[in-house]
Structures are given as C-alpha cells and as structure tokens.
C-alpha cells in the first residue's frame, strides 16, 4: 500500500465502524451482518455459550435477539488503527453504549464504556470485521419510575 491507499483504507475502516454501530441502533441486522466477514468471530458476548459467536449472520441474529425490545445508542470515538498487511488491520475503538428499556413501570438503563479491539480484513475489495473483542472500563446502571 502506498500512502494514499493507506489513507483510503483508514477512511473505509472508519466508515465501516460508523455503519456498524448505526445498524445496531437502527436494528438493521442485514446491514450489520454485512460489516463482518462470513466467518467472523465475535468474542466478549456474555450471554452466548463460551462468550463467542461465529459467522456474520449468527452474530447479527444473536445481537438482534439480545437487544430485542431495547433502545440502544452506540458511539465510537477516535480509533488507533495499524496495518499488518495490505489486507489486514488491527483497530482499537473507544466506545460507549446505552441500553434503555421499560419493565415493571420503570425505565431501566445501562451505560457501558470500553474498547473494541478488532482484526479487520479486506475481502473482495471491501474492509470487514474478522475478529471482534470488547473490554470494559466502566458500567453504570439505574432505573427510574415512568411518569
């Protein structure tokens, strides 16, 4: 990769991550699945067996079910991206997410802060996520009576 190709790859990867989190929050699970390699591995998924889900459609299905009925907000911030090869990159993304739902006459919420750590691959001309890990710095939660 020359300098310009690397700059383009950086922008493509940043836009990929922007699309990934927007698709979660808009519950566009087909769009979300298209952000991953077909054989992608997603770790740190607490309610999955072994904490790991394999396959882009499986990851999307798992998340769709986990977030059913929940309003979510995911935001990713300035990343650190390193290229290991022309078609391989490592990315660290600071993120925060909010989950908000109603139960027993309350609005309940969880806010989490941490980092995504990813391996990205360029497959058939498009950057996609090959491996996805989540580490957390802080989790806050609460509940408020609904009016």
């Amino acid at each position: 990769m020359d300098d310009v190709e690397r700059l383009i790859a950086l922008e493509d990867i940043k836009a990929l991550m922007a699309r990934r989190v927007r698709c979660i929050d808009e519950k566009d699970w087909a769009g979300f699945a298209s952000c991953y390699a077909e054989d992608a591995e997603s770790f740190s998924m607490s309610s999955a067996p072994g904490g790991k889900v394999v396959g882009n459609r499986q990851i999307a299905d798992w998340l769709a079910k986990a977030l059913s009925g929940i309003t979510t907000v995911h935001q990713v911030h300035a990343p650190e991206i390193e290229f290991l090869a022309d078609d391989t990159a490592k990315g660290i993304w600071p993120l925060n997410d909010i989950l908000s739902w109603e139960k027993d006459g309350e609005r309940r919420w969880m806010r989490a802060y941490g980092h995504y750590r990813q391996t990205l691959k360029k497959i058939a001309g498009r950057w996609v996520i090959k491996e996805h890990h989540l580490t957390r710095l802080l989790v806050e939660q609460g509940a408020e009576k609904l009016a």
Copy 2:
C-alpha cells in the same frame, strides 16, 4: 475528484462539523452561521413553525434564542460520508447533546442521542451545510436540587 481531493474533502467536512458544534456550545452564532449555505434548510427544529428554518442567519438566530440561558454540550462521532458529485456530499453523523439549565432551585437537564443527516455543498471553495435533519434514538431528562 481524484483520491487525494476526496480525502481532503472528507477532512474539510469533518472539521466543518467539529466547528459547527463547538460554535453552538460556545454560543458563537456568527461562526455557527458560517457553517451553513446562505439558503440552507434546517429541519427537525421542534419549536419552529413547521419544524423548519430557512437561511443560515435565521437558523443561527433561531438556535441562539432556543438555547438562551442554557449550557449545552454537543458531540459528533464517526460519520458516514458519501460524495454524490465533486461539490455535493451526504453525511450521517451520530451525535449526543446535553442541555443543562437552572429553574426553581433545580438543575434540569436533557440528554439526547441520535443522528444528523445532512446534504453538504462546496460553495466558493468551502464546504457548507445545505440541508440538515435530526433523528433521535433516545431522550433522557431529569432534575436535581441545587446545593
């Protein structure tokens, strides 16, 4: 546009959005107005007639009045930007904003999360906002007694 021109346009648009939100939070309404085309249209402005304001100075005046006496924080995150022509782009920006004000011995606040959807134009060599829409994912509000 060649690759480098597109990369420069991307950076110009990102810096434009950074300036736009800083100008809101610093109540620099002349700086804010300069981020828009003279005939810009801003939608999703709930307290405006028809929810729409036309004209960069009118948009700035409207917002200055709406936010008078209110401390604000606006933050925009990793965007998706697509070029439709050398002088035209579409942008989707995740954002969150906080409004904080005092009333009746309380601090009251509102936190909102959503997306800006914009059309941007390059006019006289400078990218500006031509059309601005806001969609919301979540709104939180509360109040606390002042000490």
Copy 3:
C-alpha cells in the same frame, strides 16, 4: 507539506490523541508520557501549583497520582486541527471524561465536558503534545449507595 503529507500528519495526530486517552484509562503512564514532548507544558491542572505542570514524565506522574484509585473514561471527538508549519499544529478537541470511585459505601462520580486546546510538534519524526489546555463547558457529579 504537500496534501498527502498533511493528510498523514492529521491521521498521526488523531491516533496520538486516541492513544493518549486510552493510556489514561488503562493507567499506562509510560505510554501516556510518550505522547508528550519532553519539555511539554500542561495547563488547567487544578490541583497542581499554579495549575501548570512541566515535563512529560512530571505530567504523567501528576496525573497518575491524581487518578489513583479512580476508574476513568476519556473520550475525544471530531477535532479541528490547523497546521502553522510543517512541524507545528494547533488542535481543538471536544472531550468528555468520567471519574468513578467508591467512598463511604457510595459510588461517587464526576462527568465533565469541554475542549482540549493543544499545540503539537513533530519531533524526531513523531507528533507529540507540546502544550495542553483544558476548558470546560459543564461538570456533573453525583453519588449512589453501593448495593
């Protein structure tokens, strides 16, 4: 600097800031110190004498002590960066940070929102922070009984 060199410098500076805040939150103080020039000046440090600390190791030591026992989250958002020379840039970074700690059976927290204003220098081929200022828009704080 030509256009491509400027674009690379922008990405280098963005990655520098991403690393700086990750190092704070992971309490990697050697990594944090490496983001600063040896003779860097950090202003707006409320508990330091005169509000100013000089020297990259001194800044790291000061912050390590100030944040000892505190969980932190720092997030930086879309910046405005301006080059004054091939080796000198000014940056404005919107940020929010959260401090969270336990005391007297409570979780106490502070959330602050504002801007970093920096002078950056390219020294020995690497961008580093030369001068660092913080201005605040809003500070929120609270406490909750631990379960």
